[in-house]
């Protein structure tokens, strides 16, 4: 066995996978250690990839050369584009995924990856020389020397499962937990805290009465996550919608004193984004029903996920409430719902590179950073892996700005603002949402992925061709039409006729018109790439709004260039208020832009910093 690696990734979940692959693909001998090979790319909760904002992240991972989107496409059994009622910026792809297939495919990718070494085992210690990472030690006492470690431990650090008054020291779904690593991290001085999340019960397909529920089918039009995906994505699976009722709510309220959330067994912080059913009932007493979606865990899998019934109530209450729901009266539980508590880091200890502050060679990604969700984890894993690689190669770090990617927003939020609960991505967190669309993720990020060495020639050529095609199409939008030519199409839409003719671009700019009207007027546009045409339409329609945000984007970009960095001494700065001085010293912002987003740092403090930087520069 090799005992020395460039980098070691601890954990084979969604963060660990992207971290390990990006390291290996950029030429680093990498070891990935996972508690069990059976849980590589494991999805312990919902059987979906994507969703609002999360779908965007998957697209971004794909554009940067990550793996999640490609494998998700291959494992998809139903696909839906959410939010089609609103504009393109909030369209979000959400796929039902076959969990077993996803795991199996991911495991294969890892094992076959050149320069990547996969090992089942538990890392008990990260070895340091002072603040510098020098190796890791397994439960067998085996030592691997390395200059860099990426922590991707998910919810496995000292995790505890809770169902009613039953608790067990365990990882999710019977997988063992990591016993020793969090002590090692605490001893090294890292801020470790405890978060909580949960999952609903799984029931047997054959015992559910789907006839009384509302079926939910996939979309007619299918858009894959990955630009790689050429094979048709599967889309035959059906989900079903049913509802809780006053009886369900009564059962829960009658037993609320037996809920670990309310009787004091669980004290850690859970996410508002994934509330348990008991939380929903208690907090929203007036609501007489809640939606329950029944979703298959896989194509040939008889386990059905009961979305909406996440709970840690005792087993008998779980049974009773389940059986009170229409169509689930006879449902047989295969696995009970549970809450899980786990150790994680206070993410304010992180730099935007996902390096741990004050350490050399220590990176961290995924749920250990206080996020929730497969996609959030994968996005961080990719960035941590990339930066770990750049560190090993002595290169400048890679940070995505808030106007460049949801991944940028995610990481900036975590390490600049911190979080008091498991952090879920939402489109409303992205102030430049109109720019960060899922349809343009490749335009935003492929070139960056290429520079990082993560986008191969074939893929890059494909992207360049698409880009050229778009530029050509953009020029064609200058075609002009006389009023007579537009007459029929415009009248159908009750649209006033332009007196002196109109260009294709102007037609698309009108909020009441669209591509279809244009195609009616000019057949040429029926022959072009329809995806690009509608993308151009989106960009033209958004133009006015994007312009409104331009100044703040410009300013942010300029501030981004003013570097502060980890070693900046805030005590040297005259005129900084005490609070700002403390906050800045703790957060150690990379640049002025990040500094300006720290709570407790006001615009005046920023100007004081500017002045100081200027003086120093002279």
């Amino acid at each position: 066995m090799i005992k020395e690696f460039d980098a070691v990734v601890i954990g084979g979940g969604h963060a660990g996978i992207e971290a390990a692959l990006s390291l290996a693909r950029t030429g680093h001998e990498t070891l990935i250690v996972t508690l069990t090979l059976n849980a590589i790319g494991f999805m312990p909760c919902n059987p979906n990839v994507g969703g609002t904002a999360k779908g965007h992240i998957v697209k971004e991972i794909d554009a940067l050369g990550g793996e999640m989107g490609r494998i998700a496409d291959m494992a998809t059994i139903q696909t839906r584009m959410l939010n089609l009622g609103n504009g393109a910026a909030v369209h979000s792809l959400r796929n039902q995924v076959d969990k077993d297939r996803y795991h199996a495919l991911m495991k294969e990718v890892l094992i076959k990856q050149d320069k990547l070494h996969v090992l089942e085992g538990e890392i008990e210690e990260v070895l340091f020389d002072g603040k510098k990472v020098v190796g890791v030690k397994t439960m067998l006492g085996d030592i691997y020397r390395t200059r860099a470690v990426v922590l991707c431990t998910g919810v496995y650090l000292k995790s505890r499962i809770i169902i009613g008054d039953y608790t067990k020291d365990s990882g999710p779904q019977g997988y063992s937990r990591a016993e020793k690593l969090s002590d090692c991290l605490i001893n090294a001085g890292l801020p470790v805290r405890r978060f909580k999340t949960g999952t609903p019960m799984r029931v047997k397909r054959q015992t559910v009465d789907f006839g009384v529920m509302v079926p939910q089918y996939g979309d007619e039009n299918i858009y894959p996550f990955s630009e790689f995906t050429e094979k048709k994505v599967e889309n035959d699976a059906v989900c079903y919608l049913t509802y809780t009722n006053p009886e369900t709510h009564k059962i829960i309220l009658d037993n609320i004193d037996r809920s670990p959330l309310y009787n004091g067994i669980i004290t850690s912080v859970g996410p508002r984004y994934c509330p348990s059913i008991e939380t929903k009932i208690v907090r929203f007493k007036d609501k007489d029903r809640h939606q329950i979606f029944i979703e298959p865990e896989g194509k040939d899998n008889d386990e059905m996920y009961v979305q909406g019934l996440s709970t840690s109530l005792p087993f008998d209450v779980q049974e009773k409430m389940l059986h009170s729901i229409k169509g689930l009266e006879k449902a047989e539980i295969l696995r009970y719902g549970y809450a899980i508590e786990y150790d994680c880091l206070n993410c304010e200890c992180l730099l935007p590179t996902l390096a741990v502050k004050n350490f050399v060679g220590l990176y961290s990604a995924g749920q250990i950073n206080g996020s929730s969700g497969y996609e959030e984890a994968a996005g961080q894993g990719l960035i941590a892996g990339i930066n770990c690689g750049l560190f090993l190669d002595n290169k400048e770090p890679f940070v995505l700005r808030r106007d460049e990617a949801y991944i940028g927003v995610l990481i900036d939020d975590l390490c600049t603002k911190g979080t008091e609960e498991p952090y879920r991505m939402m489109t409303s967190r992205a102030e430049y949402r109109l720019l960060l669309r899922q349809d343009n993720a490749d335009f935003r990020l492929t070139e960056k992925g290429r520079e990082l060495g993560l986008v191969d020639d074939e893929r890059y050529e494909k992207f360049l061709a698409k880009k050229r095609e778009k530029e050509t199409l953009d020029k064609e939008l200058e075609r002009r039409y006389s009023p007579e030519k537009c007459k029929d199409a415009f009248e159908k839409m009750n649209e006033p006729l332009p007196k002196s003719g109109i260009s294709a671009r102007e037609i698309l700019r009108r909020s009441t018109l669209n591509c279809d009207v244009l195609k009616e007027i000019d057949e040429y546009f029926t022959t072009v790439n329809q995806f690009l045409l509608s993308q151009l339409e989106t960009e033209i329609k958004y133009e006015g709004y994007i312009k409104k945000q331009e100044q703040s984007i410009k300013e942010m970009r300029k501030m981004e260039e003013r570097i502060l960095g980890e070693n900046f001494n805030y005590d040297e700065v005259d005129g900084l208020r005490l609070e700002a001085r403390q906050k800045l010293s703790e957060t150690k912002p990379l640049n002025l832009s990040q500094a300006s987003r720290i709570s407790g740092v006001n615009p005046a403090d920023i100007v004081v910093l500017m002045v100081h930087l200027q003086k120093k520069g002279k």
């Binding site: 939010n83 009622g85 609103n86 509330p275 609501k287 109109l434 500017m610 002045v611």
Partner: protein, 441 residues
């Protein structure tokens, strides 16, 4: 957010012969050129870094001034910068300042010129050192103090607007982020909240009309034909031992002459005298011109009628009062033969001057400024106007644009308010989503 900013580069409070109004940003040249006329050299053939003499023309004033353009990046901020050098005196300067805002610039935030200069790499060492103190004194302190100084009624109004905007945003966002889980349609309800926000904001702006008066005092013009006794009246007012008398700083134009504080309100008397030594024809011409300017900028006009002169001779001047709050005082009624309407006073003896001033203050009081509280800060008014403008944009586009676009305007409106309160709203919206809606898996 508006990209082109305007600020007074010299100190408005201190006496100075000249004030410099600086405007920076992409639109600064077109904005300045739209108000500045130079007879000698048309603005479109101006050279950069060269000073031109001309006239700034507003709706109700004309002012001789110098103008100079600095082309980016060779300017203080590194952007296109224009400077207007005008006569000292806060009245003139403010009029030009407000004109530029009406033309599309926005008042600069404290330290904003410096910030831009810094970001564009233009700040010199000495400037850097110089601004450090300024910033400590001005930025944060100014924002917060100015906010604190506002009356409870006003902060309440601003907070209500802020909350309404957060509420509207949360309603739209909940549906955008939870399209499946959230069953109800939130867009119509959010619209109502926006309309409410607009109403509150409009009311705040309306009340800001009295602003200037509380902060800088009320401008009272005394007009009348030559020799009607304007200066005598002014002296009578000033001679009265009833108030602190302070000369207004930085006036070189003889427009604002003296101010007096009466009943807690500062009254600035715009004297249109001082023209008596010129030839008579000339006097009349200049006199009317000067009076016209004074009347237009004044909050209240005292028309001093001369009982010894035929009313026909005062007709032209009297017509200036149309649409203005005014009081007519009839001077020399003890010796004059013409019977006229108005408060009969004797400027010489000071008889009935009390009554006259009471009437003047009464007119100001009608604004109800004491009950409501008034926004006293130009930046606050500009921020509120921007806020309401953006809410209007959101309302106008509400039916035709998708929610994520409407949200852009709502957030921009809140961040305009944030320039008054110093707060930003990002996380408040998310908190509001989860406290209001049962969403999440």
């Amino acid at each position: 957010m508006n990209n082109t900013i305007v600020g007074v580069a010299t100190c408005l409070g201190a006496p100075s012969g000249i004030n410099i109004i600086r405007i920076s940003g992409e639109d600064s040249f077109p904005i300045v050129k739209s108000v500045f006329y130079s007879k000698a050299t048309a603005t479109d053939i101006w050279e950069y870094n060269k000073m031109y003499l001309g006239t700034v023309t507003g709706e109700d004033f004309k002012e001789r001034a110098f103008c100079v353009l600095y082309k980016a990046p060779k300017s203080y901020t590194g952007e296109d910068v224009a400077e207007i050098h005008c006569h000292g005196g806060s009245g003139v300067t403010k009029a030009i300042f407000n004109l530029l805002i009406n033309k599309g610039a926005r008042p600069s935030e404290a330290g904003e010129f410096t910030k831009r200069a810094f970001l564009n790499g233009k700040l010199t060492l000495s400037e850097a050192e110089g601004v450090a103190d300024m910033i400590n004194a001005e930025t944060a302190g100014q924002v917060r103090n100015a906010y604190k100084l506002m009356s409870g009624e006003l902060t309440k109004g601003i907070e209500e607007t802020e909350l309404a905007l957060i509420e509207a945003a949360a309603m739209l966002e909940a549906k955008l982020d939870y399209p499946e889980e959230l069953e109800e349609e939130t867009k119509p309800a959010a619209y109502k909240v926006l309309v409410k926000a607009k109403a509150i904001c409009d009311e705040l702006i309306r009340s800001s009309a009295g602003t200037k008066i509380l902060k800088n005092g009320a401008d009272i013009a005394i007009v009348g034909i030559p020799n009607a006794g304007k200066s005598t009246l002014l002296n009578a007012i000033l001679k009265e031992d009833r108030a602190i008398v302070t000369p207004i700083a930085g006036t070189t134009r003889d427009v604002i002459k003296e101010s007096v504080e009466i009943k807690g309100i500062k009254l600035n008397f715009l004297d249109t005298a001082g023209i008596r030594d010129s030839g008579y024809d000339e006097i009349e011409k200049i006199g009317i011109e000067k009076s016209r300017t004074a009347v237009k900028t004044a909050d209240v006009v005292i028309f001093l009628s001369d009982a010894t002169v035929d009313g026909e001779k005062e007709k032209d001047l009297l017509s200036l009062l149309d649409g203005k709050k005014s009081v007519i005082a009839v001077n020399k009624s003890d010796i004059g033969k013409y019977e006229k309407d108005g408060i009969k006073i004797c400027a010489k003896t000071g008889e009935n001057v009390d009554k006259l001033l009471e009437k003047v203050i009464g007119l100001l009081d009608n604004d109800g400024m004491y009950e409501k509280g008034i926004i006293t800060n130009e930046r606050h008014i500009a921020a509120l106007k921007e806020c309401v403008g953006l809410i209007n944009d959101a309302i106008a586009a509400y039916e035709i644009m998708p929610s994520e676009c409407i949200a852009v305007d709502i957030y921009a409106a809140s961040s305009a308010l944030g320039r008054i309160t110093g707060k930003s709203v990002g996380d408040d919206v998310i908190d509001e989503i989860f406290s209001r809606f049962c969403v999440g898996k």
